[in-house]
């Protein structure tokens, strides 16, 4: 069992409940939707102990429960104060172990199959991967900077890629893309514990990026950023031949260097949603806020839950595939929180967050506009 690797940590859980937080039903989104102790980090450590001791076996219901976890890291961040247990990694290992024991939830099969067979979660043909490259965008065949849009942006939110590339063009930065050679980053497969399939993807993408001569991979997707930056190294067992940079870090640097000057915004009052996979995972909190604060006359207001205490959009951990309705509830809670700030626009830095929060906003009829940070920046460059 993969959880054997974490045995010491699993037994070092003192069951203090820090992972649950003081707002028992509103700190961990998994507990918010499931309510029972099995949805908490502490509860999962006890389940892991029982699995290790052979008192418990994986069942479909247990796996179903494991997919109430958004892998958002709220529990791990809290546990940093206590026992520093890698709860998210242990949950992913449990998902892997359950798969190895022959249990796979039916709902997860089509997505996994699509990634393995068509290299994207939407079953789209590879030729469509370049559709976002309109004639007004300048791309080089090879460059030291490679933009990696990922599946959600490529096939559903291509405006995010176009905005990012237009900003790079405006700053005269040479950039290339993998185009049809780009495969899904593999993030959903890591979430599903399908490490072998994910490894093939990592090998492919790394090789193709190398062929392009890229020294830096830039992405607007928090999921791609985390998968390439964190999982690729782990699964390939070696350092990557390039750096991975998130668009918020890159734009922050451009603004700081004066390579782009943010003049004015057509937006008025905005709030910012921290995507879990760049926030809690990599502590990219200051960069997006610095960008926002550099836009003159923009009224920025924080939501009560931000930074380490941010609330997941509901799109993490493949929960929306298994527990679609409950995942939406998580997103709805977030959009209500955003609405209550008085902001008209919610800015974020991940296409999956945009997708989930747009859906939540429609369902709750908030009238809020959800945009990626590249749209905010491009607007401030043009206005």
């Amino acid at each position: 069992m993969l959880i054997e690797d974490y045995k010491e940590q699993i037994y070092n859980c003192g069951r203090c409940g820090y992972c649950i937080g003081a707002y028992l039903n509103h700190t961990c989104p998994s507990r918010f939707i499931a309510g029972f102790e099995s949805s908490t980090g502490r509860g999962r450590m006890l389940i892991a102990q029982a699995l290790l001791e052979g008192k418990l076996e994986y069942s479909e219901n247990l796996v179903f429960m494991l997919y109430t976890c958004f892998l958002c890291g709220a529990c791990s961040t809290k546990c940093e104060l206590a026992a520093k247990i890698k709860i998210v990694e242990i949950t992913k290992a449990m998902r892997s172990d359950s798969l190895n024991s022959g249990i796979q939830l039916e709902k997860l099969v089509p997505g996994a199959k699509a990634i393995i067979e068509h290299h994207n979660i939407y079953n789209e043909p590879s030729e469509k991967r370049t559709a976002f490259l309109t004639s007004d965008i300048k791309i080089s065949e090879k460059a030291s900077l490679l933009y990696f849009p990922g599946c959600v942006i490529t096939f559903r939110y291509s405006n995010i890629a176009r905005n990012a590339l237009k900003i790079l063009n405006m700053a005269n930065i040479d950039v290339t893309v993998l185009g049809e050679e780009e495969w899904c980053c593999g993030n959903p497969l890591y979430f599903m514990g399908m490490t072998e399939a994910a490894k093939k993807i990592a090998q492919h993408n790394v090789e193709k990026i190398r062929e392009k001569g890229a020294k830096t991979v830039l992405t607007s997707c928090a999921g791609c950023y985390r998968a390439i930056n964190q999982d690729y190294k782990k699964i390939l067992g070696q350092p990557l031949p390039f750096n991975v940079v998130h668009i918020t870090q890159f734009l922050d640097k451009l603004v700081n260097e004066g390579s782009i000057i943010l003049r004015k915004s057509s937006l008025k009052k905005i709030t910012y949603h921290d995507p879990c996979e760049i926030g809690r995972y990599f502590k990219i909190y200051e960069e997006p806020r610095r960008i926002i604060q550099n836009v003159p006359n923009l009224d920025f207001v924080e939501m009560p839950k931000h930074g380490d205490n941010s609330w997941c959009c509901g799109g993490g951990g493949s929960v929306n595939i298994v527990h679609t309705y409950q995942a939406l509830k998580v997103g709805e809670l977030r959009i209500i929180e955003a609405k209550e700030t008085g902001a008209k626009t919610l800015v974020t830095a991940c296409p999956s967050c945009v997708q989930m929060l747009e859906l939540a906003s429609k369902r709750k009829r908030t009238g809020m506009k959800i945009i990626d940070i590249s749209e905010l920046v491009l607007d401030a460059l043009r206005t």
Binding site: C13, I20, L24, A50
Partner: protein
Amino acid sequence: MSKNVIYEKLVEIVGKERVSSEDFELYAYSRDLSPAKPKLASFVVRPEKAEEVAEIVKLANEHKTPIYVRGCGCSHWAAWLPLKGGILLDTTSMDGIVAVDEENLTAVVECGCTWFKLMEELQKKKLTYLSSEMGGPAMTIGGSVIKAGGGPYGTCKFGFHGQMDVLGFEVVLPTGEMVKTGSWVMPNVVPFRREGLGPDLTGLLIGSEGIFGIITKIALRVRPLPEHEGFLYFDFADWENVVKVGDAVTRCVGDEMAYSLDCGESVAEPGKVGVRIYIFGYDKKIIKYRKNKVRELCIENNGKEGDAKRASEFFNKVVSGLPDIFASGVWHFAATGAVPIHKIPKFVHAWREIIKKHDFTKSTFGAWAFPRGWTIYAHLLYSELTEYEKLMVVSDELNKKFFEIGFVPYGIGGPEGLQPYIKRRWGQYYKWIRKIKHSLDPNNILQPGILVEGDREC
């Protein structure tokens, strides 16, 4: 009666989403913070209101099925572990703040509300509850009060919950009836006073560890948020001088000089006692006077002043959660209880001897003051994989020795808590509690085996 029938009935009461009998779920609820081995319930149920709790209790009586009641599971003495299976009642869905009465300075909360949540809400109104404990952010008020809890925060002045700040309860009795205690009992009267209605039945429930009823709502005294505060940190070379400071600070009962006084000696630094002091109040001059007075006291008794940050950082995080608490292993509080103000040194010597004998390197002897007494504890950190047996031996020896010297346990819990140590010591008092238990809970439904052994088993 089959398990299925009880399951179906529970579903009828609270809905399918709030009942589970999944094996993995039962394991997730199988342990508390103590080293007690896992105990499995047959069902976990998460009621949302007192009326549902009452229905569950009636069902349990009908089917002679035990109920164990859990807040957020932060007990240190196996006080809710389902010794005899049955229904595990998770109260954390009842976590609301029902009312904050700014006029009468009271707050009514549901049992599953945490201290931290209440504190944050009170602070918005410039109010506070001044006597909390250090169970971490997830510690519920219901769980805390049912064991008469109290930590280093505020107890030097206000003592434990039972002493004055709990004004009344809404309770589901072991046979399913709902009652209130304190002034809440009277028609058209808000919960503002605990006494005046015959015997103090609020007090009967505080520290009862849930055997006499399930507390569903709690009325608490709140106070204006202190406008001024001061912190002091001192090192002492012996406990005798620390006791002198504690004695002087708590001598004017009702007008104690400090709000919190917390001390500790670690195995890593034998003979060095760190003392953290927190002074609060509403008048700057008084705070300044008290801070100087306590400082003089410490210096007179050979204390060496250190960085006050060591005190402020500690007290500011006691309720929200202290950092790095499990950095060197899992916690166990052995031999925890209360002793009169002058009695600490004997316990320290016993702790030092036992720890040395077993070469237990990760331990602290700690104490925090309350009016004319101390809560003392032997804090042990251990690796569950490699040091469990050793921990149990050391813990047992400490418990035996401390009871032999003479102290009042902080919490009792079940057979894997401190219960085995009190049974023969309590004598007629033990029998008296069992009699009360039997008369209130003839079927021994609530928490059987916790605090005292029941007359009849379910």
